[in-house]
C-alpha cells in the first residue's frame, strides 16, 4: 500500500451533543498504524461517547473521521466493522456455554449455510491464539477460562474480522496483575507485530508506562494534550486528567474514638471464605486485599446478610448476631455498597434523588409516611454538595450520570444519616471505574465518616487504595485469611503476600 504517509485514523474537530448537553467539544485525534495509543480521561470526560462515534454506536453532531484514507462523517456499527474498526467493550461480551472456537467465530462461522465446519474453526482458532502467543485450547468452554483469558478470546474474535484499528475499553479493569501482563503481551503482539492501530483506554496510570507509545488525555470533552510517552514527566498525567486533585493530604481516620470493639469476627465462615478472625474498632477502616476470586465479595455480602453464614460468629457491639437478610443488617446499622454498580446498586431509569433515598423511605432519615418532595430534594442537595455530584440535578435519571458520579450517589445513600457513629459500612470495590479526581473526593468523604465514629470494611483490588485508606489490612487468598496486618508498609508487600500465598496454596493442591 502506497499511502504510508497518511495516518490510519485522523479525527478532526468532532462534536457530539445529547439534547443541549455538549459532551464532545471538538476532539481531534490521530492514530498511526502499529502504535498503541493510550486514551485517558476522568469519568464523564467524554471517552465513551468518543469511542461510540468511532464504533458507530453514536452519530457525531459535527466533525470528520478520516479512516484509512476515506472520509466519513458517521458510521453504522456494521460499516465500522467492515471498514476495519474493531471494538472490545469493558463489559464482557462472550458466551459461557460456547467453546473458545465457537466464541471466536460467532457470526462468522466457517462452513456453509447448512453446517458449521467445527474442525476448521478449532484449527484456525488455535492458530490465531498461537499467533497471539497464548496457549488456550480452543475446544474449552468459556466457563473454564480465567477472566484474563476471556479478554484475550474477545481480542481474538475481533482480529478474526481483520481490523486495522482495534479499540480496547478498559480491558484490564477486572484483571489481576499476572493476567494484565499476559494481556499486555497480546496487545503488543497485535499492534507492533501486525501493524494494527490500537486505542487503549485505561484508568491505571502504571499501565501507561508499561504499554503506551503515545498518550492522549481528554477532559470535559476536549483534548488536553497528545504526547509521546518519552515526553511525559511524572505527575503530568494526573494533572492533565484532574488538575488540582493532587496534593492536600487526607484527614486521619477516626481510630481511637472508642475503647470497645464495634465488631468481631470469630472463625467467621461464609460459603467460599473463612475461617476469618478479625476485629473492627470504632472509627477504623479495614481494607480487604486479595486477587479476583479471593472471596472478598463473598465475605462482605455475607456480613450484610445477603449470603449465608456457614459457621463462626459475628459479634456486633458485644452481641453475637445472626443476619438473614439485608434489611436485618440495616436495622443493626450495617450497610453495603456492592461491587457492580449497574448490576447491583443502581436503578437506572429513575431519578437520582430516588436512587439516593431508596433505602431510606419511611426510615429514620426520611420518617414521614407520605413522600415529601422538598425534604427529598434537600437531602439530595446536601449529598450533591458534599460529594460534588455532577450535574447536581436530582431529577436526572441515574443512568445519565457518568460512572464516578453514579458511584457518589450510591455511596451517598449511607452518608445521609447524620447519626452515623457506631455504624459499619461495607464497601466492595468503592472506586471501581472512578477517576482520579472523584476518587480523592470519595477518600476524603470516607475519612470524614470515620471521624464521625462509623467503621468501614472495604475490599479493593488496588493495593494503592488499600495502603491509602486502611488502618489495618486483611489479606485474602483463595478464600483463606492469609494475614491481618497492622501497618502495611508498601504496595509490593501486599501484592507479594497475596501472590506468594496464592501460589503456595496452588502448589499444595
Amino acid at each position: 500500500m502506497p499511502e504510508h504517509r497518511t495516518s490510519l485514523l485522523n479525527v478532526s474537530d468532532l462534536h457530539k451533543s445529547f439534547g443541549d448537553v455538549e459532551v464532545l467539544k471538538g476532539v481531534s485525534l490521530r492514530v498511526e498504524r502499529g502504535e498503541i495509543h493510550a486514551f485517558l480521561g476522568a469519568n464523564g470526560a467524554g471517552k465513551s461517547t468518543f469511542l461510540g462515534c468511532l464504533s458507530g454506536a453514536e452519530k457525531p453532531s459535527k466533525g470528520h473521521i478520516l479512516f484509512d484514507g476515506e472520509d466519513h462523517t458517521s458510521f453504522t456499527p456494521r460499516e465500522a466493522l467492515s471498514k476495519g474498526i474493531g471494538i472490545i467493550y469493558q463489559h464482557f461480551q462472550v458466551f459461557e456455554g460456547l467453546t473458545v472456537a465457537e466464541n471466536i467465530f460467532l457470526g462468522n462461522e466457517l462452513g456453509n449455510m447448512f453446517w458449521v465446519d467445527k474442525r476448521a474453526q478449532i484449527y484456525q482458532a488455535g492458530q490465531l491464539l498461537e499467533r497471539l502467543g497464548v496457549s488456550i485450547d480452543p475446544r474449552l468452554l468459556l466457563d473454564e477460562l480465567t477472566t484474563g483469558e476471556r479478554k484475550i478470546v474477545e481480542i481474538a474474535r475481533a482480529l478474526n474480522s481483520h481490523p486495522k484499528l482495534l479499540i480496547l475499553d478498559e480491558p484490564t479493569a477486572a484483571l489481576g496483575e499476572k493476567e494484565m501482563k499476559a494481556l499486555h503481551d497480546v496487545v503488543r503482539q497485535v499492534s507492533h507485530k501486525e501493524g494494527i492501530g490500537v486505542i487503549y483506554v485505561t484508568h491505571l496510570l502504571d499501565e501507561i508506562d508499561e504499554i503506551a507509545d503515545r498518550v492522549t488525555v481528554l477532559r470535559s470533552g476536549r483534548v488536553v494534550w497528545t504526547r509521546n510517552k518519552a515526553d511525559i514527566q511524572p505527575g503530568d498525567l494526573a494533572n492533565a486528567i484532574a488538575p488540582a486533585s493532587t496534593g492536600e493530604p487526607l484527614p486521619p481516620s477516626g481510630l481511637g474514638l472508642g475503647k470497645s470493639l464495634l465488631a468481631e469476627l470469630r472463625n467467621y465462615t461464609s460459603p467460599f471464605t473463612g475461617p476469618i478472625n478479625i476485629d473492627v474498632k470504632p472509627g477504623e477502616a479495614i481494607g480487604i486485599y486479595g486477587l479476583l476470586g479471593s472471596g472478598r465479595t463473598d465475605l462482605l455480602e455475607s456480613l450484610f446478610g445477603a449470603r449465608k453464614k456457614i459457621g463462626g460468629d459475628l459479634i456486633f457491639k458485644g452481641q453475637p448476631i445472626e443476619l438473614h437478610s439485608p434489611s436485618q443488617a440495616m436495622a443493626h446499622g450495617i450497610s453495603l455498597v456492592a461491587s457492580d454498580r449497574t448490576e447491583q446498586s443502581l436503578f437506572g431509569s429513575i431519578s437520582a434523588v430516588e436512587n439516593l433515598l431508596m433505602p431510606h423511605f419511611g426510615g429514620r432519615v426520611l420518617p414521614s409516611k407520605m413522600r415529601d418532595a422538598r425534604a427529598e430534594t434537600r437531602l439530595f442537595d446536601k449529598i450533591a454538595d458534599k460529594l460534588s455530584v455532577h450535574p447536581p440535578n436530582p431529577d436526572l435519571a441515574a443512568n445519565r450520570f457518568s460512572g464516578g458520579n453514579a458511584q457518589k450517589i450510591v455511596l451517598g445513600r449511607w452518608l445521609l444519616d447524620e447519626d452515623i457513629a457506631g455504624r459499619l459500612i461495607l464497601l466492595d470495590e468503592p472506586t471501581q471505574g472512578v477517576d482520579v479526581g472523584a476518587r480523592a473526593q470519595l477518600y476524603r468523604t470516607l475519612r470524614t465518616v470515620l471521624q464521625l465514629g462509623a467503621s468501614v470494611i472495604f475490599a479493593s483490588s488496588d493495593p494503592d487504595e488499600v495502603i491509602t485508606l486502611a488502618d489495618r489490612v486483611l489479606v485474602l487468598g483463595y478464600g483463606r485469611q492469609i494475614a491481618f496486618i497492622d501497618n502495611p508498609r508498601s504496595e509490593s508487600e501486599l501484592v507479594n503476600m497475596a501472590h506468594r500465598t496464592a501460589s503456595l496454596l496452588e502448589a499444595a493442591k
Binding site: 451533543s17 439534547g19 443541549d20 448537553v21 455538549e22 467539544k25 450484610f304 445477603a306 437478610s325 439485608p326 434489611s327 443488617a329 440495616m330 453495603l336 456492592a338 448490576e343 447491583q344 446498586s345 443502581l346 436503578f347 437506572g348 431509569s349 429513575i350 430516588e354 431508596m358 433505602p359 423511605f361 419511611g362 426520611l366 409516611k369 407520605m370 413522600r371 455532577h390 450535574p391 447536581p392 440535578n393 431529577d395 436526572l396 445513600r413
Partner: protein, 337 residues
C-alpha cells in the same frame, strides 16, 4: 405531582455546567408530547367518533353504563398493574374470579350474606398467598404458576358448581344496581380502588420500592427492600381485588355460571395494563394511565355495540390498538438513545 415530565431545563444544572456553545432554551419536545398525549387524545377522538355516529353515546347515562361494565375489571387492573410494575404477572385472575363467584354463590344460604362475603374474600386472599408464595418467595416462574392456576381454578369452580348458581339474597343483589349520590355502588368501588392505587404508587414510599424491584431486583434487595414480601403482598392484593371483583360481577348479572364467569378477564386486564404503558418487564408506569386505557377499551366495546358492529370486529380493533400502542412506545425508546 404530574405524571408526565417534559424535561424542564434546570437552571441550577445549566449554570453549574457552563458550556458556551450549548443553547439555553430547549425546544419543546413535540414527539414526546404526542406519544404521551396519544392515549388521552385517542379517548377524546373515539368519543367524538361515537357521538357523531350514535348521539346517545355521549350522555351521563351511557358514561355510567361504561363505568359499570368496567368496574370489576378496574378493581383487578389496579393491583395487577402494580404487580407488573414490580416485574411480575398474574394470569390466573379470570379463573380465580370464577372460583370466588362460585364460593360466594354456594355459601349465601348456609353462611348468610356477611359470612359468604368474608369467605369469598378469604378465598381470594388464599389464592394470592399461594401464587405469591410459589412465585415471589420460592422463585417459580410467574407465567407458569399462574397459567397453571388459571386452568386449575377453572376446573375447581366447575367441579364445585356444575350448574349456574342464581337467586342471591336481595341484600346482596342490590350491590349490583343500587346507587349512592346517583352513582352505582359498583362505580364507587372502582373509584376507591383507583384512588388507593394512585395514593400508593405516587405518594407512599412502598410505591417507589415496587418500581425499584421492577427495575433491578438485586439492587432493591441490597438496599434493604423486602423483595419477597413485597411481591407476596402484591399477589395477595391481586387475589383480594379479584374476590371483590367476583362479588361485583355476580351481583351485577345476579348469577354465577362457573363455566363462563370471568373468562378472558386476565387478558383484558393485561391488555389495559400494557396499553397503559407499563412494559412487560416492569419498572415504570402509572396507575391512572392504566385506568384511562381500560376506559378506552370500555368505550370501544360499548360504542361498537351501540353502532351495532359485530363483536368480532370489536375484538380485532382492540388487538390492533394494543399493537399500535406498543409501536408508539418503541419510537420513544428508540429516540432515548
Amino acid at each position: 405531582m404530574t405524571d408526565q415530565r417534559p424535561a424542564m431545563p434546570d437552571d441550577a444544572t445549566a449554570s453549574a455546567a457552563p458550556s458556551p456553545t450549548s443553547p439555553r432554551h430547549r425546544p419543546f419536545d413535540w414527539v414526546e408530547f404526542w406519544i404521551t398525549a396519544a392515549l388521552p387524545i385517542a379517548v377524546v377522538l373515539l368519543g367524538v367518533f361515537f357521538y357523531i355516529n350514535v348521539p346517545v353515546f355521549f350522555s351521563w347515562r351511557n358514561a355510567i353504563n361504561i363505568s359499570v361494565q368496567i368496574a370489576a375489571l378496574m378493581t383487578i387492573a389496579v393491583p395487577a398493574a402494580m404487580l407488573l410494575m414490580a416485574g411480575k404477572v398474574d394470569l390466573s385472575v379470570g379463573s380465580m374470579l370464577a372460583l370466588c363467584g362460585v364460593v360466594a354463590g354456594l355459601s349465601f344460604e348456609t353462611l348468610g350474606v356477611p359470612g359468604a362475603v368474608l369467605l369469598t374474600l378469604a378465598v381470594g386472599i388464599l389464592g394470592g398467598l399461594i401464587n405469591g408464595t410459589l412465585i415471589s418467595v420460592m422463585g417459580m416462574s410467574p407465567i407458569i404458576v399462574t397459567l397453571g392456576g388459571l386452568t386449575l381454578m377453572r376446573g375447581l369452580a366447575q367441579w364445585l358448581a356444575p350448574n349456574p348458581l342464581f337467586g342471591f339474597p336481595e341484600s346482596f343483589a342490590k350491590l349490583g344496581y343500587e346507587r349512592w349520590l346517583g352513582i352505582p355502588y359498583l362505580t364507587w368501588i372502582m373509584i376507591v380502588v383507583l384512588l388507593v392505587g394512585v395514593l400508593v404508587m405516587r405518594f407512599l414510599p412502598v410505591g417507589r420500592r415496587i418500581i425499584a424491584i421492577g427495575i433491578n431486583e438485586r439492587a432493591a434487595y441490597l438496599v434493604g427492600v423486602r423483595v419477597k414480601l413485597t411481591g407476596l403482598l402484591l399477589y395477595v392484593a391481586v387475589g383480594l381485588a379479584t374476590s371483590v371483583a367476583a362479588l361485583m360481577s355476580i351481583a351485577r348479572i345476579n348469577s354465577a355460571p362457573s363455566g363462563t364467569l370471568g373468562v378472558g378477564v386476565e387478558l383484558t386486564v393485561l391488555t389495559a395494563i400494557l396499553l397503559g404503558g407499563i412494559p412487560f418487564t416492569g419498572g415504570k408506569g402509572s396507575v391512572l394511565r392504566v385506568a384511562l386505557a381500560l376506559w378506552l377499551l370500555g368505550m370501544l366495546s360499548n360504542g361498537l355495540i351501540l353502532m351495532n358492529v359485530p363483536t368480532e370486529l370489536s375484538l380485532m380493533i382492540t388487538g390492533a390498538v394494543l399493537v399500535f400502542a406498543a409501536g408508539l412506545d418503541l419510537i420513544r425508546t428508540r429516540r432515548a438513545r
